[in-house]
Amino acid sequence: MNPANSNASPKGDREAILGRIAEALREEAPRHHEAPDKPAPLSVTAPFREWLPPVGKTRKDQIALFAQQSEALRTEFRECPSEAGAAKHIAALAAELGWKTIALHAGELTDAIAERLPKTLAVLRVDSGYTKGALESCDAGLTECESLIAQTGSVCVTALSSGGRALSVLPPHHIVIAQKSQLVNDLSGAYELLAQKYEGGYPSFISFITGPSRTGDIERILVLGAHGPKKLTVLLIP
């Protein structure tokens, strides 16, 4: 095959590949699973939901499980009485760890915290653009989130809810501020919320963050902070 010719079309070998697929699929493949003939509707009432690890029914159960998962993942999870309480905890972290700059994005919760932070802590706002180097040298990044997932102890962030793609991964400490109403049982619940909120106009970036960045590449020994944040703090307010 001459690559010069094959690149004549900006879409490449689209028709040839689709043709080969259609041809290949003429014979039916055996099924090794016990599924019904038609695929079950995989939406809100995903049929697999009940096979995953159980989550309690009440908000209290959700919070207890999220806390338990956080501990196992080495996420710092803390319930705070209010935005002011959350700001106080961040100020304490800043003092303890000697932070100079914190990066954050505009938002109802983040703004409420920003105005309560000590004046000695410089703030980098990413909303109207930032330089990569400046964000990289920040000590922490503060973001809101879409939801908290009890079953796995995960935080769902998106480009629209959490200050873009880099804020939650480039600084060495990621702080999430969330409200209790944002807790969901499982990933299905998180996808459900996203579908309701964005209805087809999804952000270009959605991520489930489950604990601080980690690797086990060297002798399968766990090390935190491989490339992303070494620490993850989740602050939950009523």
Binding site: I21, H32, F48, L52, S204, G216
Partner: protein
């Protein structure tokens, strides 16, 4: 590093060498022992793992068996959000597209997150030949790149290396101080790579799932290197096999936990990210361009084999390698393939030729541990048998036919069979004459083991004798 040796000879030679490497085998065994414990714990937390497997297999079945429909849907949705889709029939086409893009955009520096597809098409070699500086950002891949060695395992690329070897490698290649702390070694890589993310103008990734419904690529990782690779450079290219399709976004609510459980024993890996296009209006950052290269490279050949089509359900968790007695003993490099272990032995003959790669299907005890471990219910060990059958049907081996011819005649004639049994001890008496030489007909066995001694009395004779004695 392309060897001119026949794949089968290379396999035999490497497997002989690696099985004799006791310390290496012990290290691999230890790592995989830890995996087994972690996975067992996570799997047991499921209300029903078998049902979850069924559901996961059903999702992949739906996607793979309507591949054309779902790929079209993906293309439509993804393109509507400003993404570009390129369909590559072959490795050469995929390479050429990415190279051309790099040239046209005047790219200077490229950062890569883990992508087995890029190993498959030898992308780094092609980019480097054209003068581009490419850096692997996944810790394991980074180490393998410094070592100029392909990944040992497609999920744990450097699981065969010990910390002192990695420390020595960093000392030599990066000029860092000696250390025996995995944490310090990880931090060396972190510091080294940080500036590369910031300077790179192109980020290349793979993809774990293609979501048709919403036009997204989903990437699973632990380190955050893929997130940085897809957040900072102005161009993002994802090189993804066409079989990675899933119909709906919410399907991932099952597949992401299944992948983590089977892959590493985690409930969920640290970052599971879905990318639906380049930076959208109203967003703060993200790449200006997002190209998805859909790679066929003989996948449609496997698709056409209905019997083995489910091998395309594979989500590359690596579980079948982790439980395989062959993998544990010969290690990842002996296979000589991009995809190692049982699943690699199934698919490689389809991708690179049955006659050249059929020997991999023989490197199996058919214990079925791989099939059992597979989260999407691929019938792996039966596919190995089918490969053996297909290879013989396609091309008969003269000496195998001769042996079967002889065996058939012997078994059909009791007198000849009895005679052969009587002669066996005699044959064994002559065995020492050739033992240890190339003339020994059972040399592959006697190289490492004693040959079992033939009984002086056959079962048949013993039975007759017993009957005669009236017992």
């Amino acid at each position: 590093m392309i060897s001119t040796q026949e794949p089968q000879d290379q396999f035999q030679e490497d497997a002989d060498r690696t099985t004799a490497d006791e310390p290496r085998r012990a290290a691999v065994r230890k790592a995989l022992g830890n995996y087994k414990i972690a996975r067992g714990k996570t799997e047991n937390a499921f209300t029903s793992w078998p049902h979850a497997r069924d559901a996961a297999a059903a999702i992949k079945y739906e996607g793979v068996n309507h591949l054309d429909r779902y790929l079209r849907e993906f293309e439509e949705k993804f393109t509507a959000r400003g993404g570009k889709v390129y369909w590559a029939s072959s490795a050469a086409q995929a390479r050429e597209y990415i190279l051309r893009l790099a040239r046209e955009r005047d790219v200077k520096s490229i950062v890569k997150s883990k992508a087995m597809t890029s190993e498959e098409i030898h992308l780094n070699d092609a980019l480097e030949k054209d003068g581009y500086h490419v850096i692997e950002s996944d810790l394991g891949e980074f180490i393998q790149q410094l070592k100029h060695e392909p990944p040992y395992h497609f999920v744990f690329p450097c699981m065969h290396l010990k910390r002192d070897e990695i420390s020595a490698l960093f000392e030599r290649e990066l000029g860092t101080a000696k250390t025996d702390s995995p944490e310090e070694l990880t931090m060396i890589a972190r510091r080294f790579l940080r500036q590369h993310y910031i300077n790179a103008d192109m980020g290349i990734s793979g993809g774990n799932f293609i979501v048709a419904e919403t036009g997204m690529i989903s990437i699973t990782e632990n380190e955050g290197n893929a997130r940085l690779t897809t957040a900072l450079p102005k161009i993002h290219v994802a090189l993804v096999g066409i079989e990675k399709i899933v119909p709906k976004l919410a399907d991932l609510a099952l597949l992401l936990p299944m992948l983590a459980t089977a892959g590493t024993g985690q409930q969920l890996t640290c970052y599971n990210s879905m990318y639906g296009g380049p930076r959208q209006p109203g967003e703060i950052d993200g790449p200006e361009e997002f190209h998805v290269v859909l790679l066929d490279n003989h996948r449609t050949r496997l698709l056409a084999d209905a019997e083995q089509r489910d091998a395309l359900h594979c989500i590359r968790c690596g579980a079948c390698l982790n439980v395989c007695p062959i993998f544990k003993n010969i290690g990842g490099h002996a296979y000589g393939t991009t995809y190692q272990g049982p699943i690699g032995s199934v698919i490689t003959p389809h991708f690179r030729g049955l006659q050249d790669w059929k020997h991999l299907s023989g490197a199996s005890s058919l214990c079925g541990a791989c099939t059992e471990a597979c989260p999407v219910k691929i019938d792996i060990h039966h596919h190995l048998l089918q490969n053996r059958r297909n290879a013989v049907a396609e091309k008969k081996v003269w000496w195998e036919r001769l042996i079967w011819f002889g065996f058939r005649h012997l078994m059909k004639r009791p007198w000849a069979y009895k005679m052969a049994i009587r002669l066996a001890p005699l044959g064994q008496m002559l065995h020492p004459l050739v033992l240890g030489t190339a003339a020994d007909p059972v040399q592959p066995w006697t190289k490492t083991r004693d040959f079992p001694e033939a009984a002086t009395q056959s079962f048949h004779d013993w039975w007759q004798e017993r009957k005669a004695a009236g017992k």
